[in-house]
Amino acid sequence: MPDAAIEFRAVSFARPGGAAVLDRFDLRVPPGEVLALVGRSGAGKTTLLKLVNRLLLPDAGAVFVEGRDTRDWAPIRLRRRVGYVLQEVGLFPHMTVEDNIGVVPRLEGWPRDRVAARVGELLELIGLEPRDFAARWPDELSGGQRQRVGVARALAVDPPVLLMDEPFGALDPLTRAELHAEFRRIQDRLRKTVIIVTHDMGEAFALGDRLGVIDEGKLAACDRPSAIVGSTHPAVRRLLDAVTRLP
């Protein structure tokens, strides 16, 4: 079996209050795959991502990134190899678009001209004209533009792994569809290992090479989209029915 880029082995995690979120959870994501994880609100999707970049540590079991237990990673090194895109984006309001995208390269001590060149490259990658957008402030951007900048910032030092937490959740349907297509285009070029979590089955179908469904702390199903459609697992059926029942 080829080395997984990300692997969960029998991971259990409970919230500080005691409620179990993940219960002996297993998952393998091979390099270059986009895995879309679907689950209801509160199913532990965000927790799962935070276990990957060591914002959280498992109570039992282990999470491996590039074959190494996250407990053995230096947290700062790990986080700079794992891009992270939040639903709220979290752009720094006191920095321009250019400075936001350049944060991690600067932390890594890149020389100034290399940072500038990389920022220009990324702005072009996400379809924002550098001359127009580099000097803008986050509050001068539309929701979709902000989300693109969030993706560019996460990709700045070319991390092999990308985590996306409901990245397009707050956008209107048209913008969202546009960004989905954009994302696939970028991913076809970059071939990152990506975990996207979402509560929207439709989005999961649009983005994922494989789909996973989280239910009661376990992976209820994890397969190609075509196989998921035919699943008989009750939790998977419920999510699928919610999509098809749309007017």
Partner: protein, 514 residues
């Protein structure tokens, strides 16, 4: 307006010095408060369990009235005593709360998603603090520094009570002379200073929160820091220079007209007879402040009254014999390394005063006569008289005094005007006060001999007299040379005719002590 301008013009050198002292005091104490308060605020925001007590303590400190704070610190070594150091310490304490509070508020106001984004991107706690948290909290922190600085300008005027200098000196001088022009001469520049500081920091705050590239924000912060540094350097430089030219002998005085005149009198006498440089720290708070200052060596000499020293400083029982009191006090001072010089020649006892018109209409001559009227009267006393063992409590007992309401507390000098204006009917003033004659007040006879003698005597540090024996010779020459009439005339010239104290003293010395 004209008298104010001519006052500034004639006192311009002093005005510049006092203004510089004021700015230096506020600037340095605000800088230190920021240097201590911002880290404390960061710490408090990070660890609320330890932070809460820090904020609680800062809150309590803030509720202590500034004058009381100066009083608390008088006996504390190193940071206390009288002078700019103690004042700076108090200003720092007051500045801490707003700075700690706004630092916490600024940090807590940051959107958690932004902080999380920073952590998730692999920022170390230090990188997160310097690149994200502090820049976002900076406008709030500057707002706190602004509050601290503006409050500091006000508190620094009060610091003149403990001899820290600054514009408050004019305010106190004006209050003790009941001269509005002099009060305004200090109050107006202080108000302008507060407005300028407020405006400058408001501008900085605006610049920092406005959309500016990192570089220009950095430039704003850097230029603000540079301006502060230059101002501080210039002021410290000038402070060091003035400190070096500090007189060999420091003369103090309490904060009423007669004391200021006597302080000036000692100063001019020493200057004239010995040629030594003399520094004046006149208008220090009350008896206690002068006593502490003398004990601590912050001043070398001031004029005390034997009865006051006996009862208020040494807590001895009241004694009516002037020679016994003088001998007792001299002995007690000697034990703490201080020397009582020969008495100046007059007794400044408390004078129980009523309006001349009342005295004539009711045929009042003695305090005993007045005690019969007292139940229909109101009284107003300075706070010292109310508290002192030789003050109101004993007087009330000795004469069975009982007023319509408990006596009001008021500034000693203002009480003369309050009596003349009819707000109160009886006050305790100084026997030598110039205003007694000026306002047609009548002094009641202490026919039961309640008050001890209050012979005015210079009290000096023994060490100073040993080092400069010529100072002792000069001060001994003053012995017995000032009569009650002389003193009253000088007080009258200062209080009623608003003549310049230095000039009054110069003329007196020329006429009487040639």
């Amino acid at each position: 307006m004209m008298p104010l301008l001519s006052f500034w013009l004639s006192h311009r050198a002093e005005l510049v010095t006092l203004f510089a002292q004021h700015v230096l005091l506020v600037a340095l104490s605000t800088l230190v408060a920021a240097a201590v308060g911002v880290p404390l605020g960061i710490f408090a925001a990070r660890r609320p369990r330890f932070g809460a007590p820090v904020v609680a303590i800062a809150n309590i400190v803030q509720t202590v009235p500034s004058l009381a704070m100066f009083g608390f610190l008088l006996p504390v070594p190193l940071i206390g005593g009288v002078g700019a150091r103690a004042a700076g310490f108090v200003l720092i304490l007051y500045g801490l709360l707003p700075i700690i509070r706004t630092t916490i508020a600024g940090l807590n106001g940051i959107d958690p998603a932004i902080r999380e984004a920073g952590v998730a991107m692999g920022m170390t706690p230090r990188e997160l603090l310097w690149q994200v948290e502090l820049p976002l909290a900076l406008p709030s922190i500057v707002a706190g520094i602004r509050v601290a600085a503006v409050v500091g300008v006000g508190t620094a005027t009060i610091a003149a009570a403990i001899g820290a200098g600054g514009l408050g000196e004019y305010i106190y001088r004006g209050l003790s002379m009941v001269d509005t022009t002099v009060i305004l001469a200090g109050a107006i520049p202080a108000a302008i200073l507060a407005l300028v500081i407020d405006g400058a920091l408001w501008w900085t705050e605006r610049r920092l929160s406005a959309r500016k590239t990192r570089r220009s924000r950095r430039a704003t912060a850097a230029s603000a820091a540079a301006v502060i540094a230059i101002v501080a350097a210039v002021l410290i430089g000038s402070g060091v220079i003035t400190a070096r030219s500090r007189g060999a002998i420091v003369v103090g005085s309490k904060n009423f007209t007669e004391q200021v005149i006597l302080g000036e009198l000692l100063a001019q006498t020493i200057e004239r007879d010995t040629g030594l440089a003399v520094e004046r720290r006149l208008n220090l708070g009350g008896t206690l402040i002068c006593d502490r200052a003398l004990a601590a060596g912050d001043i070398d000499v001031y004029v005390e009254y034997t009865g006051t020293a006996l009862t208020a400083i040494f807590h001895q029982p009241i004694n009516a014999n002037a020679n016994t009191v003088y001998a007792t006090v001299r002995e007690l001072y000697a034990r703490s390394g201080r020397t009582v010089l020969p008495a100046l020649g007059y007794d400044n006892t408390f004078a129980i005063l009523v309006r001349g018109s009342d005295a004539r209409a009711l045929g009042l001559k003695t305090i005993e006569d007045a005690a019969r009227q007292a139940p229909r009267w109101r009284a107003g006393f300075g706070y010292e008289f109310l508290e002192r063992p030789d003050g109101y409590p004993g007087l009330a007992k000795a004469y069975g005094l009982q007023f319509r309401a408990p006596p009001s507390v008021m500034d000693l000098t203002l009480s003369y005007r309050a009596l003349a204006g009819g707000q109160v009917d009886l006050i305790a003033g100084d026997a030598t006060a110039g205003l007694i004659k000026g306002l047609d007040l009548f002094r009641l006879d202490d026919n039961r001999h309640y008050f001890p003698p209050y012979d005015a005597v210079p009290v000096a540090r023994a060490a100073t007299l040993l080092r400069y024996p010529q100072v002792r010779v000069a001060l001994e020459r003053l012995g017995g040379r000032i009569s009650a009439g002389d003193m009253q005339a000088m007080n009258d010239a200062a209080d009623a005719r608003h003549e310049d104290v230095a000039q009054i003293v110069r003329e007196f010395l020329r006429a009487r002590l040639r």
